[in-house]
Structures are given as structure tokens and as C-alpha cells.
Symmetry: C2
Subunit: 393 residues, 2 copies
Amino acid sequence: MTHGTIEPQGGEHDRGPGVGEVSTQMVRLYTDEAPLRMDNGEQLGPIDVAFETYGTLNADASNVVVICHALTGDAHAAGHHGDPERHGWWDLLVGPGRTVDTDRFFVVCANLLGGCRGTTGPSSINPLSTLPYGLDFPAMTVADLVRVQRALLRHLGIERVYAAIGGSLGGMQVLEWALQAPESIDRAIVVCASAALTAQNIALSTAAREGILRDPDFRNGRYVGTGTIPAAGLSAARMLGHVTYVSEEALSRKFGRQRRDPHAPPARDGHTWFEPDFEVEHYLRYQANSFLERFDPLSYLYLTRVMDAFAPYERPDHQERLERVKAAGTRFLVESFTSDWRFGPEHSDRLAADLIQAGIPVERENVASPWGHDSFLLAIPEHLDLMQRFLTR
Amino acid sequence: MTHGTIEPQGGEHDRGPGVGEVSTQMVRLYTDEAPLRMDNGEQLGPIDVAFETYGTLNADASNVVVICHALTGDAHAAGHHGDPERHGWWDLLVGPGRTVDTDRFFVVCANLLGGCRGTTGPSSINPLSTLPYGLDFPAMTVADLVRVQRALLRHLGIERVYAAIGGSLGGMQVLEWALQAPESIDRAIVVCASAALTAQNIALSTAAREGILRDPDFRNGRYVGTGTIPAAGLSAARMLGHVTYVSEEALSRKFGRQRRDPHAPPARDGHTWFEPDFEVEHYLRYQANSFLERFDPLSYLYLTRVMDAFAPYERPDHQERLERVKAAGTRFLVESFTSDWRFGPEHSDRLAADLIQAGIPVERENVASPWGHDSFLLAIPEHLDLMQRFLTR
């Protein structure tokens, strides 16, 4: 398992050497004097951004592929940080001869604004108070996240990217990027994303946030530095989230009703009864524990809320934005997976429909996969082939 | 809204007078000296049971209909407790001239073992310690719940019921009842139930329990009497649970992406950003708040865990139990709803298949409804007609 999800066996280790050892770099893109102007009118600075690059930028900076990560991802998309057994979350995609071929492309992946893996977010220090921002961190939009992505590219001397790729929240950034600055993006690969969450999507996010916000250890967002985090809320949120990332079929195939110890005597009382018993519970417990070590509850709140609000097609300037995309010649691959029930094929259908109607070139593909939303992270041949063809055509 | 779910308009108020004012009765069914012997070998006593009855028991006690409630229900199925505007949770089903006609039937509904609405459960006082049981309360099975249901009937002088009806966990009790003591039940109406939760079902229950179990205010189950409850965990669990009780279509139809105040300025920061904004969030907030007032976190843990473990068809004596059902002549109505994604039609298909294969008479119906799992609580004409025909045939 690369990133803790359920996946088909094999594949990724037959793909030759990866990009090898890499390190995460840091850059300050905005300052107190030159802050980011955000959609809600707030100004934010300084903003530090953590990012990685793979491959070599060519002379005219025309070989840039940007990877936008999803809710719980980070800048470490490929290669390893010293332990070759522990590689980045999309390593199967990125490397010499792989789908995103680092012999040809210069690949950039940054931790997103509001994150907790190097880039400035709500648990970073607020220079005004010298305390962590907590809930004082400004409300954000996907457009704000994209502004920071674009600022990083300007810093790297890149004006136009050959392609931007992203799944889920990453795909929402790619879509917004194309709408916000189509002249800066040639090819947009938008995978299992959404241009508008449904009431059910929002409801599930609200339920996940509820446990964090009301957790006594959340302390109105002032838990940073107390030595405790709202672990109950974050753990439950991760479990709930994870269930929505995988299909019912994937869970049934992998775990069914299998118990870790089928011959264990029945529990006497509640002291042991609620411990993990079924294999699927052990799996969720493992997922939650590793999440608690690497993710911040405030970032979870902020980044899920960003998704709830994302509705680029409701903007009053939507048609003008589409016109500009068409004029810029940006091409789209809009991909979904049949068993995805978080942002299912109908989300991608709706997302693609407006683009197609505006005369923008869109390749719309619904890939058969039993693995659910997380399919975009997996070694599914049709999925990888699609992206490779779209990138090289 | 009867019980806080999403439902079609009208219907229930056009059905004539209901059963009128009723009151919940209490009875001690097991004592310290004569305890309940449970599936896990534990003994539990005393056990008090809260129940209600509607209609009149006939001379030969042959007109008894038992209603088994679901996870968060209670004994108050019909009528009102003084305020005619606030009626029981299945009032539309039970009353003079209604589907379960109280002019003909004597209807019994009890709060289940482990509950928190009158019947002994984990928040009741443990006579040994004179403190609430908390996690010392024994682990239970659906079979244990049914034993207590049957003890109540014996107390009422009833040997055989004309019919038992239940939805969800209620339906699981009805199925188990028929398998445990088929000679005591003529007709079994099993609605949107399951004979074995899937890995996804268990995973969602685990996620809901996680927030309660880890909530600092849970205090290892010793929160009763402290003045606080693990509200974060229970609230998030209720929100998650509720999302699974309604279909995506129901949520989209009723709420879509509608915001309470579409002209509100964008949130500046996290202090206001996570307040309910979309209508679906206000709805979940209301659901959670009312649940916190009426339901106990320990009961939530116990009763969801009971469902995880329920797997009557895995028992080594399963075939013998089916043979006894067939010999007793018990008939089944197994009903599901097309849009139910908690225990969808495939659960009822599997549940019915074993009965049918054993030669037991089963009417299997999949009712078209856009309202999801909670459809069993609603005034859906085909649903009510099905039950009425099955009861009167």
C-alpha cells in the first residue's frame, strides 16, 4: 500500500527505477509587505510553500507538469526521502519512463495553502500574535489555493505549464486554474473531481468536521502547543472520510466480515467489545492512527470547507471565463471511476458538460474500476494509459 | 416531520383520529435472583422494560402485533403523551383504521434492552455498584434483545403473536425472533433490515463509535452523572448516521446547495466559517441537537455493536432453525426500498434467499422510493398497502 488505500496487487514495482532520493524545498512567496490578496478580501503574509521537483526544466521552460494534491496529500509526490521503501504518494505515476515521464518533464508538486506539510496553514505561527493562527487563519477558496500554486511557478521562472494534473481537491484546483488563468495552462487533467459538491457531499464533510469542532481538546482552535490535539474528532473524521474514498465492493472484497480472531470468545462487556474485531476495523484503526501522526485537525477543517464552497460554474463571470479558456486553447482530460461514490461519474459529467458546451476540447473518460474514489492513486492500467496518451499526444 | 427525517408531504394527517393519549408503562421482567442469561454467558438482572400498548387484547390473545423499534426509537410508537401535535414515531402506521388497525389488533411496543428510554441499559444503575453500568454493562446480541421482547409478552399473558413488525434493527429482531422461536410468531414483517452487515456498514458504524469512544468527555464510560456527555462524538455520530438514513436524491431534492443566507458576505476566518451555512448543515445541526437531548452515547455504542455482530445465517444450527420455522408455518414479508443505501435491496435479497430456499413462505417486495432507508417511517402508499395486505390476508 502506497498511501494506505485499497489497491490492486502488483504493478508499481515492475516499472523500473523511480526518481530516487529527493528533498522537499521551502520558499517564501508572500510577505507581510506583499501579502496574498484573498477572495474574501483578507490579506495573508508571509506564506511559505513546501514543494518538490522531479526531472529537469528545459531551456524554454516548456516541459512543466504540475501535480496538485488532494485533501490529505503533500508535496512529496514521488521518489523517497532516504528510505527507498517509503516513496511519495504518486510515485507510480511519476518517474523515468512512467506516465509522467521525468526524462521528458519537469514536475512540480507543492503542499497547498492551508495545509500542514510545510506550507503556511492554520497551525503556522501568526507573525502578528507570534502564536499559531488557529481559527484566525483566513477563510480560503480554491481560487486562493491556485493563486499560490501560480506564484510558485512564477518564482521558478515558469510562465506556462505543459500540463496540470490533480485528483479530487487536486482536480478542483486544476479546473479552477484553467478558468482563472487559461493562458498559463496547456493541458488540464481533472480526475474524480467536482465542480459543485452535492448536499450529501457537504453533509458528510459537516459530520466529519462536527467531531473536531466540538471535541473538548479542540479548544476553539487553540490546541496547538498544548500537547494534545482533538484526536477523537480527527480520528473519526479520517475513518468516515476513508470509507468514502473506497467503494463498498472494495471493502467487501478485501475484508468482508472477516474477524482478526474468529475463535475469540465473545466479549463480556463494553471494556473489550468496542475494540477492533473485524478486519475492516483494524484497517480503519491503522488508517486513523497514521493520520493522527501526519495531519493537522485545523487543516482538515479548512481544506474540507474549501471544497464545500467550490462552485466555479455559479460565478457571474462563468461564461466569460469559459470564453477565455476556449481562446487560450487549453485542452481537458476529465476522468472519473465507475465505483467512485465520493465524486462519482455524474460529477465529472456535469463538470465536463459546461466545458464541452463552450466548445472547449474535452476528452471525457469514465474508467471501469472497483476501487472507488481512491482509484486515481492506483496502478490501474487504463487510468495510467489515458493520462500518458493525453500528455504525449 | 414525525421523527426528523425527510419525507413526502401530506398523508399522515388525513388518516382520521389516532390512538389518542397513551402512557409508557414499566415492568420488571428479570431480577437479581432470576436474571437474563445472555448469549455471552453473562447474567443480567434486574431488567426493567418500558412499553406501550394500543388497542385491546382479545379473549384468546390472538390479535397481538408487536412493533420492534430501530436503533434510535423507543416504546412510544403511536398516540401522544398529552400534546396531540407530538405523536409517536410510527403513528401514521398504528391507529384505528390505519395499517396496523387498533380496532382489530392489540399492539405492543417496548424500548429495547440496552436502550435509554426506560428499559435497562448501560446508563442504568448497576445494583452491585450502585453506579451506572457504563462499560460494565454486558455485551449483547440481537438474540438477547428478542429474549427480553418475548419475556414481556409472557408477562402480558401472550404465547403467540399474530405478527411482529420492524424496520432496520427492528427488522433484525423480527428475523431473529422467527428463527429463535418460530412457534411464537405467525407473520414476520422485516423491513429494510439485514442478516449480515457488510464491511462498509461496519466501517461506518466504527467511524461513528470512534468519536464517542475517544471523546475526552466519554471518560471510559463514566460520564453519567458528571453533568457532561461526549457530545462531540454523539453529535458527529448522529450526523453521519442520519446521512446514511436518507438517500443522496432526498438530500439533493430537499436542500441542494441552498444556503440559509445566499447574500451573506464571505467568512473572514475560521471563527464563523464553520458555522452552518448550507441548509443541509442547518438540518443536520437540528438533528444532532435534538438527538443529544434524547439519546445516550453508551446506548448508541451498544446498539450499533449489536448490529455489527448479527449474522444468524452463520450459526452452525442455521439449517435446523430454518426447518423449525418451516414447520411452524411462520410467513414473511421482506421489504426494502430502492434508494436505501444503508441496508439496500441486496441485503433484503440475501436475507430472503435463505428463507425461500428452505421452503418458507416469503413475500419479497422492493418498493420504489426516493427517500432512502428512512422510507420505512414514511407515508409511502405502496409501503403501507403492502403491510396492510400482508396483515389482513
